[in-house]
Symmetry: C2
Subunit: 194 residues, 2 copies
Amino acid sequence: MEKTPTSRVVRRRRTEERILAAAREAFAERGFERTTIRIVAAAAEVDPALVMQYFGSKRELFERAVQMPSIPPLGGGLAESIEELLARIGMKIGPIPQASLAVMRSMLTHPEAAQGARAKLDDQVAQLGAAIEDDDAELRAALMVATMLGVTIARQLLDLTALREVSAERIAEILRPSMNALAGVDVPVRDDAG
Amino acid sequence: MEKTPTSRVVRRRRTEERILAAAREAFAERGFERTTIRIVAAAAEVDPALVMQYFGSKRELFERAVQMPSIPPLGGGLAESIEELLARIGMKIGPIPQASLAVMRSMLTHPEAAQGARAKLDDQVAQLGAAIEDDDAELRAALMVATMLGVTIARQLLDLTALREVSAERIAEILRPSMNALAGVDVPVRDDAG
DNA sequence: GTCTATATAAAGATAGAC
DNA sequence: GTCTATCTTTATATAGAC
């Protein structure tokens, strides 16, 4: 066996990853405009010039740092609940990946983030719309997605006092009938309204 | 009677108002960070220096331009519907005042806008919470507010394709059972409750 | 009172030393 | 490969002419 020294390329990848992590965090916390190369560099404990060297521009750094995995197509099996359906397309109340938070944080002010968010949300709407049965499936799906978006923004990005300390489970519980109503599972007692 | 020439003070107020209107629009469209004094001045057709002369700083211009009227306390009479209740505290689907849009546009990235938005939303939650009867009144109120927020953001700020062309009335209609469920009214109760 | 010109500051980007 | 130093740009803010 040869010994495996940390080669240059490996060290480089580690540094790069550290920068990307720092960038994700900064973008998620402060948004695109207020995040500076210098701040990211300081957090990653590297020289600002190195960040440029690696990524070329702030714009590219953002793209590399936050690129969201696109949603896998809604595969097999019927969903057991609306929540499961939402979870499958990446919409849940719980902790959100930092990359997504970064996009959300910036989506109202940074055009590229807006475009990315729109694309992803449109995709989620389409998938959700295809999964529910109703004349207004797409509109209903859009309102469900908008609801989840609003709750996530209020809770994770705005820190509304009334939501800050409440567990994700509790929120999901209170939200459930409302989401079911949106999905068109509206009317009360049918034992099987799935 | 003396004639009434447009005195300096009057002209000054008009110019000021033109600047404020231009600022509101720019802030609503691009957010705080990407709005420059120059852009505002150009839109108002005045010199950039004049904007500074009048308002002192970009920060103060923002404050003056977007200051939201605080919500009048939920006065007389029982509300006839959740929608009416929401409308009373300033939450509706329809067209939003530009000052509010400006705050919303900037609230994820500009700390002062965040604070303003939080204060207003907290207030709305409190008022709404006081108006509905439930053990979890405040949490339910917060989720209602978050839902309205999400729909407004998705529709007015992000331009989601599925919501863009839909009338406010249509959205309100689809949303109604969902809001009622959140309010604890007419909840389609399931036997197992969880 | 309004505009021209400029000071000042911050941040993105680059060149070159080591 | 990494850092020092610097260039450039852009935007806020100010001073002074008219």
